[in-house]
Symmetry: C2
Subunit: 330 residues, 2 copies
């Protein structure tokens, strides 16, 4: 009976210790703010912030995203991902010895772009950084203007992608940046992976990496994605804990795109099978991507109009600009 | 005004012809039974049956699944996929000059396996074929028995997979079959592809092909999957039009597995973006799979107990049998 008593006592103590730990940070025992199911880890505010920033740091180191004394152009739209990217990079800049310069494109979407620009300006001032602003109205190529032209035969999101890719690279090049950092997330990585499987675009699939080198053209800046291993739900929580403001409203032109469907479905799988999102990306990088180097780009050509990289004689951006001008003349 | 009148007339005629075609088979104008969104094609019953069977035939020819005068062992569980596979292969056998022999495993699931076996026997008699039956009760290894043992530390579906893979190959080998045909569908192909990305199992990913050659072991029969490019919704419709009976009830032990989640989500994407399922598989085969040959199996070993293929000394099946026996003795 004494043995039974001891067993009972240890069971009761065990249950009490489990109850004590429920709702507690695994590292310090304080009140938890989040339970990360993919890591089976409960964390308090401070330890979550540490955990999040260390993961970004690990991505930077694992994939050698930055070298000593580099100038990093960071693309900031004002959404949660790019605001968090700016915030984390600004924290890391001094210790890691790199300098930051902010790029922002005012897309000319009325009732939306102004608010984005003002928010970016606020953080640029707060962090005492340089702001490089491109206003699409000054190119007569605002998204509002383009949206009013019905016959471009291309989806608006895809046109906007052309504009952003072009100007972010061009601005980064013109300010002499060594790297161009964007806020692409783990969710973006998985979504692009699935979309490449659907479209069969192997060149894009090969480029699905935290660093895409610029060796293919002298005017192409090496792109880096420090948030490529960070899931969006963590980015959102990080922004909230750090008290970061960001534009929550989606772009007014955003529509029910395939990319959003894929992200939603990946999150449904993740919610029932934690760690799916990171596993997909890690396995792809570790076991498949290096085999796809047969699809890597060789030397890329030069646009005869603007002198920036293009696989054909006229780059997508110059072609877009010309076509919009043609429609306007009619 | 005469020109305007002609324009109006042609517009009206156009509208009438569109209305006439709505609900009509694109090939013969009869009442349609299905609109295949992935092909933007409306078909009547007869033309759908043609379309379906021709696609299976194309898969067989494109991937060289069959040679002249071969003996094909077809695995039939009684579910819609394997019943349709048997039906189509039986139709094609004479013209393509191959012979069929049916394999069925009675898994020993009470209230379920009997009905499956009886249905398979019905079709074997109707088509005047040979039936090779393996009853797991005779091995003292029924699924009911295994399910009652709690401590096998392996999911029941995975154990059932070991049993089926082992006995289907062994039976096919023992009747001297040249090929072992299974009812894996396009939905299975995509689901396994995604699951391999999640698990990182590149060896299985490389084998995701309509034909898996047996060169790795003398007692391994080459497996073929003639339905690997046929979506399950088409298979279901084919079964209904052809008046085929099949076991609709899922296995009573089936649970909310990852594989079912993935299939459901793929179908949600397909419903909003037709042709996604086929694109994923075709692009994988055309652009990725051949690069994965670094993961192909070399020579595979032999199980010291049963003499059939095994990557370690004791094959998964013999190990399972031994462990079940051990638990029973306790």
């Amino acid at each position: 009976m004494k043995v039974l008593g001891q067993v009972k006592k240890s069971v009761i103590l065990g249950i009490i210790s489990v109850i004590m730990r429920v709702g507690r940070c695994k590292l310090c025992g304080r009140r938890m703010i989040v339970h990360l199911r993919y890591a089976n880890l409960s964390l308090c505010e401070d330890h979550f912030i540490n955990f999040f920033e260390n993961r970004v740091l690990r991505t930077i180191k694992r994939y050698k995203l930055l070298k000593d004394n580099e100038k990093v152009a960071v693309a900031v739209s004002g959404g949660k991902d790019s605001i968090v990217l700016l915030h984390v990079l600004n924290k890391l800049a001094k210790d890691m010895n790199f300098s930051l310069s902010v790029l922002h494109i005012d897309l000319g979407i009325s009732g939306y772009s102004n608010r984005c620009r003002e928010l970016v300006e606020k953080y640029v001032n707060e962090y005492n950084l340089e702001l490089n602003l491109m206003n699409m109205n000054s190119e007569d190529l605002s998204i509002d203007e383009i949206a009013s032209i019905k016959k471009l035969n291309r989806k608006l999101c895809s046109i906007c992608g052309v504009i952003k890719r072009y100007w972010l690279n061009r601005m980064a090049y013109e300010i002499g940046a060594d790297k161009l950092a964007t806020g692409h997330t783990l969710d973006d990585a998985d979504q692009i992976l699935i979309q490449c499987l659907i479209s069969g675009d192997m060149r894009q699939l090969y480029k699905l990496y935290p660093i895409v080198y610029s060796a293919t053209h002298p005017k192409l800046v090496t792109r880096i994605r420090p948030l490529f291993e960070s899931p969006e739900e963590d980015i959102l929580l990080y922004a909230k804990i750090e008290g970061l403001e960001f534009i929550e409203r989606p772009c007014p032109y955003a529509s029910g795109a395939l990319s959003l469907d894929i992200k939603k479905l990946l999150n449904e799988i993740e919610s029932r099978h934690p760690n799916t999102k990171l596993s997909i990306y890690r396995n792809f990088v570790k076991k498949i991507r290096y085999l796809l180097d047969v699809y890597s780009e060789g030397e890329i050509g030069t646009c005869k109009i603007c002198g920036f990289p293009s696989s054909v004689g006229e780059c997508s951006y110059c072609r877009l600009k010309r076509r919009v001008l043609e429609y306007r003349k009619r």
